[in-house]
Symmetry: C2
Subunit: 135 residues, 2 copies
Amino acid sequence: MKKIDIFKKLRSSGLRPTKQRVEIAKFLFERDKTFHFTVESLNKLLEKKTTFKFALATIYNTVHAFKNAGHLNEVDVRGKKTYFDTNIINHHHFYDNETSELIDIDAKEIVIQKIPKAPNGKKIKNVEVFINLKN
Amino acid sequence: MKKIDIFKKLRSSGLRPTKQRVEIAKFLFERDKTFHFTVESLNKLLEKKTTFKFALATIYNTVHAFKNAGHLNEVDVRGKKTYFDTNIINHHHFYDNETSELIDIDAKEIVIQKIPKAPNGKKIKNVEVFINLKN
DNA sequence: TCCTAGTTTATAATTATTCTAAAGTAAATA
DNA sequence: TATTTACTTTAGAATAATTATAAACTAGGA
Ligand SMILES: [Mn+2]
Ligand SMILES: [Mn+2]
Ligand SMILES: [Zn+2]
Ligand SMILES: [Zn+2]
């Protein structure tokens, strides 16, 4: 993903392409593989990988803005920190409790044969499968 | 579940049947249907349903003790609060994002036909299916 | 260039949870 | 039963993640 695409992505989401947002977007989206992060881990990575200094609040703001724009997904993981995912396509996860690591599972790798119908008045939004790992 | 069973349950887990633990255990386990709660909601319910006063720390202590003893399960839910489940049998959940409500799905209501093998050196501990609901 | 709404920032506030250490209690021991 | 001991409860302090505040800054339009 090139700089011009980053600008487009931000603009089309109604987000001004500020220095901070562009830097963070480049870091998150200019890569081959998607990945999972917390605000804390992202902050550390940005400190290492860029010369820029970001206020922690800006990282929170930006991550939430990207999430609300649909450029990031939130993943439910046991524990206190919120995990985000640059993979916004419907998929599933292995979760390694020892390392607190999430591993993607492509949606087509899991086939569900039988599923209950939603409670009265509700519809199914999506189905998430979590496979907990042990050694 | 009778008082004598509550005592047994506590004793067999190496937990002294203190007034507080017995009260909380009665509240949690002397019922027909299992249920989901947070420490905050449990605290409120205990205030309403019992004449006893519990320090918040005691509720945390007790819930964790029960969880470690295997009498409660923790459920991963989006958000900041930790959810607990008196249903300790393997099962799945609907999650209603509007009401923050968890609804149990019996394990046999979901049949998974295809599942990827665990990453190298790891084994599958369990599989949890989360069905997010919308209106 | 000037203006303005949107953004960043340092810092304070909030929320959920855990820690601390003193006081209380269950139950083993004498 | 009285004494002892380890375990438990408790109020309050501490911590950790996140959100709110409000002043300074900036992108982009007029
Ligand atoms: Mn969670
Ligand atoms: Mn928290
Ligand atoms: Zn993922
Ligand atoms: Zn449940």
